[in-house]
Structures are given as C-alpha cells and as structure tokens.
Symmetry: C2
Amino acid sequence: MSRTSLELRSTITPDGILRINLERVPVPEPAAGELLVRVEAAPINPSDLGLLLGPADMASLKAEGTAADPVLTAKVSEQGLAAVRARVGQSMPVGNEGAGTVIAAGPDLAHLVGKRVSMIGGAMYAELRLIPLQACIVLPDGASAAEGASMFVNPLTALGFIETMRAEGHQAIIHVPAASNLGQMLVRICKDDGIGLVNIVRSPQQAAMLRDLGATHVVDSSAPDFREKLEHAIAEKGATLAFDAIGGGEMTGTILNAMEAVALRSMPAYDRYGSATKKQVYIYGALDTGPTTLRRGFGFSWGIGGWLLFHFLQRTDPAIVQRMRERVAAEMTTTFASHYTATISLTEALKPEIVAAYQKKTTGEKYLIVP
Amino acid sequence: MSRTSLELRSTITPDGILRINLERVPVPEPAAGELLVRVEAAPINPSDLGLLLGPADMASLKAEGTAADPVLTAKVSEQGLAAVRARVGQSMPVGNEGAGTVIAAGPDLAHLVGKRVSMIGGAMYAELRLIPLQACIVLPDGASAAEGASMFVNPLTALGFIETMRAEGHQAIIHVPAASNLGQMLVRICKDDGIGLVNIVRSPQQAAMLRDLGATHVVDSSAPDFREKLEHAIAEKGATLAFDAIGGGEMTGTILNAMEAVALRSMPAYDRYGSATKKQVYIYGALDTGPTTLRRGFGFSWGIGGWLLFHFLQRTDPAIVQRMRERVAAEMTTTFASHYTATISLTEALKPEIVAAYQKKTTGEKYLIVP
C-alpha cells in the first residue's frame, strides 16, 4: 500500500512570480525510529511567513487554478528576487511545527500508533508527515491537536530568552512586542520564576491584557511619555538585555539609549565614553523588514545581535534543552497555552483574502491550519 | 617652591556655550610612584575631539579673550546640550596621551629625572603633567617627544583588534577607514604576523598608499564595483570580523551583508534564516555621528557592538596587555610610527581657523600639540 499526502508548496519562479499550490506527494512507510503522523493542526508563525510568502508584493495576490487544485500567485520585485535567489525554482514545503495523530510507526515504535504528538521540523502544512521520534513530544491522553500544535517555536524561544539571560549574566529582560503569544508565555514564565520583565506593547488594550496576566512592568510605545516610562521600568528591574522581534525602525536603538540613560544616572562623574554597563539587544524577528536605525547615544559598551531558536538549540548544552522540553510538556495547557484567532483549511490558506489577513502578523493574532 | 602649569580646559555652560581656555593651575610635588613631566608633544586623536569640542556647532567658532589669555567659544544646540548634561558647568582637561621629559619624581623614582616618557591618562594638553609611573613607558635615550607622543591609543587599539580576533575565533579582520594612522599600523602588524586584513579606503590615493606599505587586500568604497571587490576580498581571507570607526551610515551593514553573501555561496541548500556563519562588526569610532542604518539581509548569526580601548584593557588578561605594551616600545619607530600633518602650540589649538582644520578628522591627517 502506498500512501500519498497533499502538501502545501511555495515556489518563486525565475521570472519573479511567487506560486503557492498543493502537491500530492508519495509518503514512504516509517522506518525504525520514525512515525507517520496525520497532521491535525499547524500554526502560522511569523517565522513561517518568510518562507511561505517570500518578498512577494501582497497587493498583487491572485487566485488561479481550480477549486480542486487551487493556486495562489503574487509578484516579486527584481530586488526581492535577488534577495532570495538561492530558493528560486525550488518547490518548498512550509510549516515549522504542528500536532497530529500517529497512524503508522517504525517496527520499534508500534506502541505509539494512535497517540497524539507535537512535532517540529518543517513541512507541517500537509495531510501527512513522516518524522523521527526525536523531533516529537508525545502528548498526554486527551490533549487536543490545537493544544499541542505550538509546543516548540514559541515555548522554546521564551525559555531560550531566559537561558540566554542567565548565560550572559543579566538580571532582567525587556521584550517587544510583548503582547504576542510568545510575550504572554514570557509573562507567565517570569512571574512563576521571579524574573524581572519589562514588557513593551503598542496600545493601551495590549497593556491591560498583559497586566491581567500578572505583568508588573508594561510600557506602551504609543504613549507620549513612553521613553520616560521605559527608563523608569528599566531602572526598577535593572534590565540590560532586550529581545526585539520588530527589528526594523528605531526600537532597538531606543531601548539601548534608555538603558544607557539609566546607567549614566548612577555614574559618579562624567565619562566622555558613556557608561561601562554592558547593554545587549537581540533581534529575533522582522515584523518591520525595513532598515534598523541606531542613534548611537549609548556609549561603547553595547551589543546588538541576531537570535534564532535553531542556532540557540545547536549551541546550548543538550541537558538544558532537554529540561526546557520537559517543562513545555508539563505546562502545555497553562504557561505555554496558545490562542488562535481563526482556524483554516489547507485550501483556505491559499485564498487571497485569508492570506491578506494572516500575513499582517498582527500582534496577538495567530492562525491555525487544520489540514 | 610651588609650580604651576598652563592647562587647556573645555567647558560647556548651562546656557549652551562651549568655552575653551587656558587655565593656570597649581601642580603638587610628585609623591612616591609619581613623575612630574614637562609635556613636549600630545596628539589630537579623534577620541580627544569629543571631549574637547563636544556637540558644538563648528560654524559658530569665535575667538574671544586676549592674546595672553585666549578663549574660544562656540554654540551648542539644545539637543546637543541634553546629550552632554553630565559635563555641563565642569571645566574639563583634555588630551589622552603625550610624551615629555621628567623634571621631578617621587623619592623612589629620582633616577628617572631627565628621561623622556610616553604617557596615557588625560590632561595632556598642558605644560606639566603629574602622573603615576604605571601610566608611562620610559623611552630609550635619543627618542624624540614626537616619536613617543602616540604610543598608547593607536598602537594598543591596533593590537587590541588582533587580540579580539583571536579571543573570538576569527581568522582575519576587515578595517575601515584603513588609511588612518591606526590603519597603517594595522597593515604593518598583519603583514609581520601573517594575519589576513581587508582594508577599506575611501579613495584611489589611499589605496595606493596602503599598497605601498605592503597591504595585499585594499578595496575602495568610492569605486563603482566596491561591493563586488569587498566580497571577493572577504572570500579570499575568510574575514568574519570587522572594525569600523565610521559608525554612522551604511558601512557596518554593508560589511555584514557582504560577509553573508560570501557565506551563502558555500551553503549546500537554501536556508530561510541565512547562514550560520558568525559575523561580527565592532564600531570603535564615530567619524560619522549620524545614525547607523542596517539593511538586515545578513540572516540571524551576526553581532554588532561598541569597542573601546579602555574597556578592552580592563577586561583583558594583564599578561596580554603587558605583552602588547612591550611590543609597542620595541617597535616604536617602525610598526607604530605616527605621522603628523602639523605641529601647533597650546595657544594655536584655540584659534578658530586651526580648530576648523583639525576637527575635520580627515583620514591620515593628524595634529600634534607642542605645549
């Protein structure tokens, strides 16, 4: 018996067209150590959108193909094409993580058939996924697919921030934008673990929502006294480390300048080189893909860097990573619960009006694909 | 007998005036471990100008006072004033380093009277400087003050770049702007030590000058094929670390994007997150005080940070620092020779037309104050 699976694919053609379609692909039988999983839920994370949509112009989204074989297209500028030349012409599967039910297993894993698992590894926007057990977490009986769909990217990223803070000797964290699903997890973790957290949000509604979750330090970047409030919160928590998913624009520089302003206040005398307090911001997303602008009023003791979960996991002690995974499994429905704005099918994921909605990456909104 | 010294002072007043004058200050007798030095030469480094001129408007330079007691003034904008509020109202001595002859010494150091020394520690734009021996290098007999005037800032910075490269596991260095006095030292060090160096200069003349010194990889940022040549040089030397004294504008981002373009070429498959090659740029100066603009096409494995000699020296193994100082003393007239564009007196350092010339920080030009 040979199985097939409908799988979402994203291709950018040499002549500058993004093409998303559903391909029927053969699925081999699971070998030792492998599970064959029927995918039941897979979130659309901001980290998926880069691969799914590339640098395509969202104003040019167009439905093509047929109802049975839908195709979505959009235009890619010459400049955009140059930026992704390494993927041009390749039909790429999408979807970092998901959850589903094991329908077949390698000879050593037959006891897992019928169990529900959470998975990481790409190609989750599909009916079936053949996957090694080590890329899975077996869920407790009764857990829903939606509950298990987002157990890797956001939870491990939030815990990774904490481990990075510890490894680099900081006392507290600044997070922006803090109202995201990830941000909400971070609020719960820091509250439980007694870690200082300064939450930067972009509206009074988001601030109220985080305070309801127990956040003590929330500053609203849309308020006229944002900079003053930010400095006050930084001073209270002694925060010298930030994680910024916006990336473009002024936020990274604003945070560094606020940290420096706080550090300068406790200096006994003027130093033309600024404070010696080490200040670090990690950019871990690109909600704003425009240039990052740094107005360098923060002396010489500072760093900015990229932060990526997959690099972090590769470079971190496996015992720490294992502890992180166990905590996620134990606190799946509490600390690490995700909330979804809408549930869509694979076919709906290709509809222009639905793509237009989920590609906005509105903070706190998240879509779930149910193949 | 009580000695006095004429000392250059820079003050920014609460109403936004930069005021530079010469003050006569009393000089105590040297205690144990101290030397009293008649300053004979002190360079004007870019790192001195920030303290000397602050954020004053150079178009508003004005000579006041008398010939015997000259005063230079300039206007400071409200924004500029806010940036330096910690120094407002303070009369600040200037001049990081210099050289001169010991005219008195603590009881334990009497044998050094008459010797010439090189010094670091500020307040060098003065007739006399009382200084601890540990902030000095005793020069060999026959060394001139000009030869010994710049033995700390540039030489230790150049050697600090090499130590940073080693400590962080990089193979080669990119330096910009490479035609500076510091850049010329770096060319000689890297040539002697067999270290890969990519020199970014800003004109064909500067490129020719560095090639005459033995530089093998020189790229001219004013050339139309700059980016292509830069990638080629980075690929040849395997450079993943850069030191940038420009700071503002696009250079830091351009270097990171060029490093990433080189790294991507050797990747077996497309990765939406870019290369895992660690890429680092340190900003160690501010020749362009405008914002730093980063067009983030360089994945997630990158860092940017401030680099300051004084922080480096504090955070580095003293044995390494000692080895660096010994090398500078041994190669004072060869590797670490500086060239000066003009020699000026303390009084001339306050003349508007002369300030206008040295504040331009033209690469490769350097002024020497001879009090």
